[in-house]
């Protein structure tokens, strides 16, 4: 089996799992399909020789963020019956918004194909390996990398502040 067949099969599975996230009616199942999608995306990363990114994707998204999603959904105990009825206008608006996003993504992908071919041509590039990624993050991309940490701190402080405020109301 060649690398291309594996890529095609994995890509198809990824898209299928991502579609199931939207199609399945039960929120918990949607989240589980989303977890599956993250795993398949990670396997695509491994094919691109980006092991570090693959594992970090699993640890951060599948292992932490989706667990919290699942946590909340399990506590809410949502059913088909409790799903709110949406107005027809809202549905039309969401279809239009989704279509516009899709157009933007297509436009982005159009440029991406050329880039992807260039990347595939140098498939032996080891940029995804942890040493090279670390070198890149701390030399070329050091400013965006450090600024994003400030963003995380800000969101953490925000979460703590919200939790504190609620407590004062209870007292």
């Amino acid at each position: 089996m060649s690398l291309e067949t594996i890529t095609t099969i994995l890509g198809g599975l990824t898209i299928g799992a991502a579609l199931m996230v939207v199609i399945s009616r039960h929120p918990v199942r949607s989240v589980l399909y989303l977890v599956l999608t993250f795993f398949l995306i990670s396997s695509n990363y491994i094919l691109m020789n980006a092991q570090f990114l693959a594992v970090v994707n699993i640890i951060v998204y599948a292992g932490a963020i989706m667990v919290l999603f699942l946590f909340v959904l399990m506590l809410l105990n949502l059913d088909k019956d409790s799903e709110p009825k949406t107005h027809i206008l809202v549905k039309i608006a969401s279809v239009v918004a989704g279509g516009i996003l899709f157009t933007v993504l297509i436009a982005a992908l159009k440029d991406g194909i050329a880039l992807g071919e260039a990347a595939a041509a140098s498939a032996q590039n080891n940029e995804g390996l942890v040493q090279n990624l670390g070198q890149l993050l701390f030399s070329k991309y050091v400013l965006p990398f450090e600024v994003s940490s400030v963003l995380f701190i800000a969101s953490m402080v925000g979460a703590v502040l919200l939790a504190k405020r609620e407590k004062q109301v209870i007292d």
Partner: protein, 343 residues
């Protein structure tokens, strides 16, 4: 990949699988013997001499029980839960280096299934998705006690993963690599990480207790509050899988502790040996350390009473995480000083 290499890896995988399952099965027996010893009892002694056939009898009993799925349960998720728990517990063993290279029939056999350059992250990844087995099983049972157990397990595992990850970062900073083999090789002889990072070891050990859902952190299956916890509705071999997965992860986390902090297959005076002798002595050293930590896990379980849930969260978030961050900062400063950054 050559066909001989494939056979070699396959043999290694089968051997590792067998050894892991065998050790997990006999860990149940030794846990009961250790408990009996601590409580001044005799323990299991009916099946075979000294009761050593007890794990087989237990396994047989679980197989012959009725495989029951509750009417209100989500059928497929209910079946998937124990499977995921077992799968994630078994996968972590594949990146652990068990010893130095063995030469068999003129071929060099690395006693490690996969030497990937992000080995420790692979283990952290499988630890973090191990919680899905418990969560899916607990939720799919459609029982409020199971759900409570699942929620407790997941919040506990997420909280303790953070402190554990920071301790791993300190070790990675010490050895400069994420590969488990490099981490072990950096601790040659008696140059073990535990002597440089005792605090990280203590925190990592506490977090391992919490990650494997062992007492005193076994609130997910706290029988005095939650009947049986997340596996209340399970019976037969599905239940057996959950219980067994706990012992498998007990074994692998003991192995990880010995690799990260106690030098893995390194032992003092290892320079006097080479070749296959060194490899075999390395296996002996590795398993001695692992079994010692399995014993410590039992020791703690039968000595310390269970925490209350708020105490658990308090310990995790307000003690272990700040201490491990400070430990990491100090380690970074010392490394920077040794590299001559302040001159």
């Amino acid at each position: 990949m050559e066909i001989s290499e494939l056979i070699e890896k396959l043999a290694l995988i089968v051997a590792l699988f067998g050894v892991t399952l065998g050790i997990a099965a006999y860990a149940t027996y030794f846990e009961r013997k250790v408990a009996a010893w601590f409580q001044d009892r005799i323990g299991p002694d009916r099946a075979g001499p000294f009761g050593i056939l007890q794990p087989l009898a237990d396994g047989g009993k679980l197989f012959f029980k009725e495989d029951f799925i509750p009417a209100a349960a989500e059928k497929w998720l209910f079946i998937m839960g124990p499977g995921i728990a077992m799968f994630t517990a078994l996968m972590t063993g594949s990146v652990i280096p068990w010893s130095t290279d063995l030469v068999l029939f003129g071929q060099t056999v690395a006693l490690q299934v996969a030497d990937i350059n992000i080995g420790i992250l692979f283990i952290m990844g499988f630890l973090s998705i191990g919680v899905y087995g418990i969560m899916i099983g607990g939720w799919a049972s459609n029982n409020k006690f199971s759900l409570y157990g699942a929620i407790r397990a997941s919040s506990q595992m997420i909280s303790y993963e953070l402190a554990m990850g920071i301790c791993v970062i300190t070790i990675v900073m010490m050895s400069g690599s994420l590969s488990l083999r490099d981490i072990v090789n950096a601790q040659h002889g008696m140059n073990w990480n535990v002597f440089y990072q005792p605090l990280a070891f203590v925190i990592f050990f506490i977090c391992s207790l919490a990650e494997t859902n062992r007492a005193p952190f076994d609130l997910a299956e706290c029988e005095s509050e939650l009947i049986g916890g997340y596996h209340t509705e399970y019976g037969s071999m599905k239940m057996g899988f959950y219980l067994f997965a706990e012992y498998v992860s007990l074994f692998t986390s003991s192995a990880v502790i010995s690799v990260l902090f106690f030098g893995g297959f390194n032992f003092p005076g290892m320079d006097n040996f080479d070749g296959n002798t060194l490899a075999i002595l390395g296996i002996v050293a590795m398993f001695t350390k692992t079994f010692f930590f399995i014993f410590v896990f039992f020791w703690i379980r039968w000595t310390i009473p269970r925490f209350r849930f708020d105490q658990l969260m308090h310990l995790g978030w307000k003690s272990l995480i700040p201490i491990s961050i400070i430990n990491m900062l100090i380690t970074g400063l010392v490394i920077a000083f040794n590299e001559g950054w302040f001159k």
